[in-house]
């Protein structure tokens, strides 16, 4: 009998930098309302050392703030590994994280990213009302999507 694929939802962002904290906020609400749907993680940044924690996942859904989306909108998309990398430090974008995962792990999960267009991410500020108002809708979309994953990614 097929079993449910292992799913990890990762909320990325810093709650102390305004709307950048929207990813963690959405994922914490998702976990509170639907704890059985997926394993939830909240991180400030994606770093290489997180790879051992996700290398057995079959599906990863990233939830992140976006400055290139219209403010207070939600965008969805499947993402693929992309190893184009800034030489500057050791932080990774979700696509880069997948690329490193692909190099380090025999199994590369399918991945999607839910991105929320943000207004501001000033240090020390809280999430703006406009962006915070999206949380219920984002949680609803996310939970519906997670329920469809067994059809999208049939488990062997």
């Amino acid at each position: 009998m097929a079993t449910a694929p292992s799913i990890i939802v990762i909320g990325i962002g810093n709650p102390q930098r305004g709307d950048d904290g929207i990813g963690p906020l959405i994922v914490s609400h998702l976990h509170a309302r639907h704890p059985a749907l997926a394993r939830c993680m909240i991180v400030r940044q994606l770093l290489p050392e997180m790879i051992p924690e996700v290398e057995n996942a079959e599906v990863i859904v990233f939830v992140d703030a976006a400055v290139d989306c219209p403010i207070a909108t939600i965008e969805w998309g499947q993402i693929k590994p992309d190893q184009r990398f800034s030489a500057v430090g050791h932080l990774l974008e979700p696509t880069q994280f997948l690329a490193l995962l692909k190099l380090c792990s025999p199994q590369v999960p399918q991945a999607w990213c839910l991105r929320v267009g943000i207004e501001q991410c000033q240090p020390g500020s809280t999430i703006s009302d406009t962006v915070a108002a999206l949380v219920p809708d984002a949680v609803k979309q996310l939970s519906r999507f997670l329920l469809t994953i067994p059809q999208l990614v049939p488990h062997a």
Partner: protein, 474 residues
């Protein structure tokens, strides 16, 4: 006409910096400077805060080495409480500090510096990163990633989270390990030791390919400062200060760290927010000293664990006196990973790790306290003055990266003089200048207590200060 080259930002280091290289009228490198352009002012912000908050607040200085601040701060607090920390708490602090060495050194070597060594300083910068490393040496890259994760996992077990754990407090620690956690750490040790060995053996092989870099990356006589144990062994948590010279002759030994200000003075330069500590007795121009893995291995008599002691003897063979080349910071760092893992293994057998007597409670008994420990990047001092209510009146933080500031300046000058032959700077030369800084693994967030990320820029200046050429990398 004299010229100046600017590298801004310097890449693959922790923080934001730039390098300027000044050419003379004949186009030869006259001087190079490492500038740290970020400012945060933690020492001032902490004034007025209660002593009990200091470990958690100062840990916020850095996301890479919060544990180092946590421990030095708690030790300054111990001194102000004039309390004897329970033996179990001291051992648990040691365990966390060793885990910090493992995770921080793994980041420095595997993520930031190994790409240069494995792919070459002149390789395509597009692939000269952790991805290129993973493609070329997947086992090493995966092992390095897991090694850093292992160090962070121990920190999380003890402190509740990987970054900024509020676990060390003046007088002790908040809680111990349980049996399952001890077992989990023990199970990861063989793999971690194997990764450290693999990397160390690889470095020793690769180092032979980089003779020119080894000769010119900060290879100059200097003093070295580190904590050593009472018997002269490698130490990271307690112990006393030792200063050795370029021949490994002991200049000062068994100095109580609380007396650091008698030996170390701090200068400031108009071109950088980074302070420049120097040995007071020799003055700013002669008193340059280095801290960190290279200094610790040069200063200690032995490491105290079987595998690391064998590697220390091999390391000693690099030079009849102290190993002066900054290129060998990498080898020293890898030996310290190996030794830290061995010391973790030894600590795990101690039943005190599961003790419930973890904290000495006391009030304010001294108005001045100094905490000192070895951070991965070098000796760290937290110097606090409080009022009778335990509110901070004055804070001085002497950070490893600051203590290496004068040496980093001399290092970039030496590399620039060796490799820059015209105003056209090939990318590989740019990378070597950065790599000289990277060898010290500077943490600019700590050293200026700053915020931000870190790109690279090189500018070329004439004697009148005009920018003649510039390269920027983001």
């Amino acid at each position: 006409m004299a010229k100046r080259i600017l590298i801004d930002p310097v890449t693959r280091i922790e923080g934001h910096a730039k390098i300027t290289i000044h050419l003379d009228d004949f186009g030869k490198v006259e001087e190079a400077r490492f500038h740290v352009a970020e400012f945060r002012g933690f020492e001032r912000m902490l004034q007025g805060r209660p002593l009990g908050e200091m470990p958690a607040l100062t840990a916020r200085i850095c996301g890479i080495c919060p544990v180092s601040h946590l421990i030095a701060s708690a030790k300054a607090g111990d001194a102000i409480l004039a309390s004897q920390v329970p033996a179990a708490a001291a051992k648990l602090r040691r365990l966390m500090n060793l885990a910090q060495f493992v995770q921080s050194h793994a980041l420095s070597f595997f993520h930031l510096s190994a790409p240069d060594l494995l792919l070459g300083f002149d390789s395509d910068p597009v692939t000269r990163n952790v991805f290129g490393l993973s493609a070329l040496q997947p086992e090493l890259a995966r092992g390095g990633i897991r090694l850093r994760q292992f160090g962070q996992q121990i920190i999380e077990m003890l402190g509740g989270k990987k970054i900024h754990p509020a676990w060390c407090v003046p007088g002790g620690v908040r809680h111990a390990l349980n049996t399952e956690q001890v077992t989990a750490i023990r199970q990861r040790l063989p793999e971690s030791l194997a990764t450290a060995r693999l990397a160390l053996d690889l470095f020793k092989t690769l180092a032979q390919k980089f003779a020119r870099e080894a000769q010119s990356f900060g290879n100059f006589p200097s003093l070295f400062l580190a904590i050593v144990a009472a018997d002269g062994g490698w130490e990271h948590y307690d112990g006393r200060l030792r200063i050795v010279d370029a021949e490994r002759r002991v200049i000062h030994d068994q100095i109580d760290p609380a007396r650091y200000a008698e030996f170390i003075a701090e200068a400031v330069q108009p071109s950088s927010y980074l302070k420049s500590p120097y040995l007071r007795s020799l003055g700013e121009t002669q008193g340059l000293y280095r801290v960190g893995p290279l200094a610790r291995l040069n200063a200690c008599d032995h490491f105290g664990t079987p595998q690391a002691d064998v590697e220390l003897q091999i390391f000693r063979q690099l030079s009849p006196g102290a190993v002066n080349g900054a290129f060998y910071y990498h080898q020293a760092r890898l030996i310290e990973i190996l030794g830290a893992l061995e010391k973790i293994e030894l600590l795990l057998d101690d039943p005190d790790l599961q003790s419930t007597h973890l904290r000495a409670n006391a009030g304010i008994n001294q108005l001045h306290g100094i905490g000192c420990s070895e951070a991965p990047r070098g000796t760290l001092f937290h110097d606090y003055q409080v009022d009778a209510n335990g509110l901070l009146q004055k804070v001085n933080l002497v950070i490893a990266t600051g203590q290496n500031n004068l040496a980093m300046n001399r290092t970039v000058t030496q590399i620039a003089q060796e490799f820059i032959t015209s105003t056209e700077i090939p990318e590989g030369v740019l990378n070597r200048v950065e790599a000289g800084i990277r060898a010290y693994d500077p943490c600019l967030s700590c050293s200026t207590h700053a915020l931000g990320q870190m790109p690279l820029r090189i500018q070329l200046f004439d004697t009148a200060g005009n920018v003649l050429a510039e390269r920027v990398r983001n």
